[in-house]
């Protein structure tokens, strides 16, 4: 099948991209064949194990648990030494030869036509048979553990994190279908050929797997430009001890191992409960094999249906944590239900056992497996390879071993053999107590790992660029800098204005040694200027060294005392009442007067003069007047100050001055912000003033205005809200309102993209025109700014930055983080806008989702 057709076909079943189609198919087949083989072996093996004495069941599992460690070490060494393709091929050939050997041993026991020979006699003894069963049990566990691990390593080799996440459902479906086919075949053939001969089907399917694995590696090398996976990449120096050290040294991995181990203990104990009941009900080997094959078939059908319709939905709707909690919670309740069943009611117990074991298997092969793999996502590749070998193969068996040990102890301590025949419910209830305990531990560990999971995902995200506002605030005192610029500018204009500004700086305690240094830098220039000033009419003389004089301790006191003198007030009021500050004065003189009014006490004459200056035509005069108005804080001045917000030359001073009034000015500001008759420039300057208050009321005013969705104000409102969020973390934002605005922005972006797609054909599909794309990008930025209001700002900012400029891995981690912290609706509609999708695919998704979003009209 051509790649394009294959993609179109597979797209119906999985969220894949065109270049992923072949690899996805091979991986699907790979998993299918492994589980197909395993489910034939599984029914045969389980039949053999149940057939032996129940006290030996845990022995079989303990042997596996103990020996698997050595096999893990051997496997790790192999993985380290051999190229990935060679490693996978050789292990498959090894399994084929083993299967043929086991078949031969079990086949001998079934033969009666041979003459008496030592081999035949030996094969018929109980010790040899039990030994063969235990060996086959160990081998089958080894086969599935190694095969599944190899499979997921192959998935990791072929796909990146977010690709793997999209693909995991599809691949697990392949595994489930393989299991169903294997079980179906076993159930159909077991009455025709005996359970032993069923083993012979498996070598053939494994040889097919060998072909698929080789095709997969060829495809991977093709897609990844011929790069070969060296053994070093597979896990440089990975050994059993290093794997162990890796897990021991990483808290997240330790918890992950704990989650897996506790789930395995629960699963193991439930298995023994199940085997107890099955042994009592099915004493015949063929009937038992048929029942087990049917049971596994039923479980897999249910699992498949559950998986197809529920796993993805659970993950989407409830996220990883709640999805992970489903299995232990249900099993805990089911275990408690064992105490409600009479201990001798075999039929009821059988139903209960099928239910709990079926539930456990269903959860394990669907939700459990999918989500467990997702938990590896935030782990760095090198650590993942080392840890995965240990966790998947050793910890898995450690859990099994612990479950087996607990059963063995309980079997002997509580004399289970007494109840085997007549009251099998008694040991079931004893084991149920243990199930409840370990299910509770499992739940607690899930709770812990979820918190760690998000932390681990965040570690992949680095700040790509610092927040400019934050950076400036951290390194620059904006108020002081502006005053300093004002001061330096005033030097050029008037030594008196300079002196006044210098004193204002001193009053504000901003005349720091650093500022003094900056001022000294210009001294030569000023000395030259002072020569000119000597010629000025009125004799304004510049005295070098005023800065030092100003810093003297008594200077400020002297000025304050002078300003308080009745004679000073009298003279200055006379001056202000006359020509002072009027248009008959020069601009510089008016600037001086405006500065002076801030120094003087707020007598009616001073305030009247200040009101006059607040109407001055010169922006420079207005800026000084605004600064003085910020000192006297007269309510009557506010109406004069508001219009100055609309002038770019006076905006900043007006914002500072209005902010100086404090929260009492908020109602006035709200009125102007909400007034459609007010000049837009004035309205646009108000959010910045409200930001400075940083209180709940300010945030509420801004959010209320934002909800009105006036495009002209959006940028300023979002910026102001974002700043409040960063500077005042205690302020709360109404989540529903913010999310409504976000959805509205998403809707606008949908319309813009779909509108461009519906327009004249353009190269590369329906990309919006450059200016349209810029608008879409700007809105996307705004969406993220708004998300910082209702989610941890650092997480959102990092996610946004990494989506824009991150590596493939950090982009994946960003999407993963957002997937876990955003609400379902937002992420459903936002993801198609931010995911890396081919244009056609993006449009297809937007069109599909637009219906649910409503109001999108391209």
């Amino acid at each position: 099948m051509e790649d394009g057709r294959l993609y179109r076909f597979l797209r119906r079943f999985a969220d894949i991209r065109p270049q992923e189609a072949r690899s996805a198919l091979y991986l699907f087949l790979y998993f299918f064949l492994i589980t197909f083989t395993f489910y034939i072996i599984k029914a045969v093996k389980e039949n053999f194990v149940i057939g032996i004495n129940p006290r030996l069941w845990p022995v079989a599992d303990l042997i596996t648990a103990v020996l698997i460690g050595f096999v893990v070490a051997w496997n790790a060494r192999l993985l380290n030494r051999l190229p990935r393709k060679t490693y996978a091929s050789r292990t498959l050939v090894f399994f084929v030869s083993n299967l043929l050997l086991f078949w031969f041993v079990f086949w001998l026991r079934t033969q009666t036509k041979f003459g008496i020979s030592t081999l035949l006699v030996l094969s018929k003894t109980d010790q040899v048979y039990i030994g063969s069963v235990l060996g086959f049990n160990l081998w089958s566990d080894l086969f599935i553990a190694m095969s599944v691990t190899q499979f997921w390593i192959a998935v990791n080799d072929v796909f990146k994190l977010h690709q793997a996440k999209r693909m995991v459902g599809f691949l697990v479906t392949g595994g489930l279908l393989g299991g169903i086919a294997g079980s179906l075949l076993t159930y159909g053939l077991v009455h025709l050929i005996n359970p032993v001969d069923l083993i012979l089907i498996c070598p053939a399917t494994l040889l097919l797997t060998l072909v698929v694995v080789n095709l997969l590696h060829v495809e991977r090398e093709r897609v990844q430009d011929g790069s070969k996976l060296s053994p070093t990449l597979a896990g440089s120096g990975v050994g059993y001890l290093e794997s162990l050290r890796t897990v021991r040294g990483n808290r997240y991995l330790r918890i992950l191992a704990g989650v897996l181990a506790s789930s395995m203990v629960v699963g193991q104990l439930i298995k023994y409960q199940f085997q107890f009941i099955v042994k009592s009900n099915y004493p015949n080997s063929v009937e038992r094999t048929a029942f087990l094959a049917f049971f596994f078939l039923a479980i897999l059908v249910i699992s498949t249906v559950f998986h197809l319709f529920t796993t993805g939905q659970l993950l989407k709707r409830f996220g990883i944590r709640l999805t992970l909690l489903v299995a232990p919670s249900v099993l805990l309740v089911a275990a408690l239900a064992a105490f409600l069943i009479p201990v001798a009611a075999l039929g009821a117990l059988m139903v209960w056992a099928i239910g709990i074991r079926g539930g456990e298997r269903t959860f394990d092969t669907t939700v459990g497996q999918s989500v467990r793999e997702l938990l590896y996502i935030p782990i760095a590749d090198d650590i993942k390879y080392k840890a995965k070998i240990f966790i998947d193969m050793f910890v898995n068996k450690l859990g099994t071993g612990l479950g087996a040990a607990l059963y063995l102890i309980s079997y002997h301590a509580l004399s289970f053999y007494i109840y085997e025949e007549r009251r099998p419910g008694v040991p079931i209830q004893y084991l149920a107590v243990l199930v409840v305990g370990f299910a509770a531990i499992w739940i607690v560990l899930i709770w812990i790992i979820y918190a760690e999971y998000l932390g681990a995902v965040k570690q992949d995200l680095e700040e790509k660029w610092p927040n400019p506002d934050k950076l400036i605030k951290a390194h620059v005192d904006m108020d002081s800098t502006l005053l300093l610029f004002e001061l330096l500018q005033s030097r050029q204009k008037s030594s008196t204005l300079y002196a006044m500004n210098l004193f204002r700086l001193k009053q504000m305690e901003k005349l720091t040694p650093e500022v003094m240094e900056v001022l000294a830098f210009k001294e030569d220039e000023l000395k030259a200027m002072s020569m000119d000033s000597l010629l000025d009419v009125g004799g304004q003389v510049f005295y070098p060294g005023v800065e030092e004089a100003m810093t003297a301790d008594d200077f400020e006191v002297t000025i304050r005392e002078i300003v308080a003198l009745p004679s000073y007030k009298l003279l200055m009021e006379q001056h202000l009442g006359g020509a002072g500050g009027t248009k008959t004065e020069t601009e510089v003189a008016r600037m001086e007067t405006a500065r002076l009014t801030g120094l003087m006490e707020p007598t009616p004459g001073v305030l009247q003069s200040l009101a006059r200056l607040l109407r001055d035509p010169s922006p420079d005069v207005l800026n000084y007047a605004l600064d003085s108005a910020a000192i006297h804080l007269q309510k009557d001045h506010i109406p004069l100050m508001i219009p100055l917000l609309g002038n770019p030359m006076t905006r900043q001073a007006a914002q500072c001055a209005l902010a100086a009034f404090g929260p009492r000015v908020m109602d006035t500001l709200r009125k102007h912000l909400q007034d459609p008759q007010e000049r837009l420039d004035v309205r646009k300057a108000i959010p910045e003033v409200l930001t400075r208050f940083g209180n709940q009321k300010a945030a509420d005013i801004l959010v209320a205005e934002l909800c009105l969705r006036e495009p002209g104000l959006e940028e300023e409102l979002v910026q102001a809200l974002r700043e409040i969020r960063l500077e005042f973390p205690d302020v709360q934002f109404r989540e529903k309102k913010i999310l409504d605005v976000i959805l509205s922005l998403i809707r606008t972006n949908y319309a813009a993209i779909l509108s461009a797609a519906g327009g004249p054909a353009r190269e590369g599909g329906g990309h919006p025109l450059p200016q349209g794309k810029a608008a879409v990008d700007l809105r996307t930025k705004r969406i993220f700014d708004l998300l910082t209001l209702v989610h941890p700002p650092d997480d959102i900012v990092k996610a946004y930055q990494n989506i824009l400029q991150g590596t493939k891995k950090s982009v994946d981690s960003s999407l993963e983080l957002l997937d876990n912290i955003l609400d379902r609706t937002t992420k459903t509609y936002l993801f198609p806008l931010i995911e890396d999708l081919p244009p056609g695919e993006r449009e297809r998704r937007l069109k599909k989702l637009a219906k649910g979003l409503g109001g999108v009209s391209p």
Partner: protein, 113 residues
């Protein structure tokens, strides 16, 4: 503080020495009023020998300025210190008081009237 007066035509020049401050014990304003009683309306305050001027001293200058102004006269200042000039700049008094670098200029300004 010590104040010596000398006449230059109808202008009285106050040659002030020492500190013009609260503890100095001599009132500039009182001295100016004495000259008013003598019929003198135009005064030049020579600060060439003045050391320290505090707010009390500035108050004395301003009180003298007001009372002279009420009589239709004028007070002009000459040879003030850098620091006092700075004080006058910061307080805006530079807009009101007439200040000269040297006393001759101050006297000439009266002649120009």
């Amino acid at each position: 503080m010590d104040i010596k007066t000398r006449d230059h035509q109808d202008v009285v020049i106050f040659d002030i020495t020492g500190d013009l401050s609260r503890p100095s014990g001599v009132s500039l304003h009182q001295a100016v009023k004495t000259e008013h009683e003598r019929g003198k309306r135009n005064i030049v305050l020579n600060f060439a020998e003045v050391g320290f001027v505090d707010s009390f001293g500035v108050g004395e200058i301003l009180a003298s300025y007001i009372s002279t102004q009420h009589l239709g006269g004028k007070i002009k200042l000459c040879r003030i210190s850098k620091k006092l000039y700075l004080v006058f700049q910061v307080t805006g008094l530079i807009k009101i008081l007439e200040i000269f670098e040297d006393c001759e200029s101050a006297l000439q300004s009266f002649e120009a009237l």
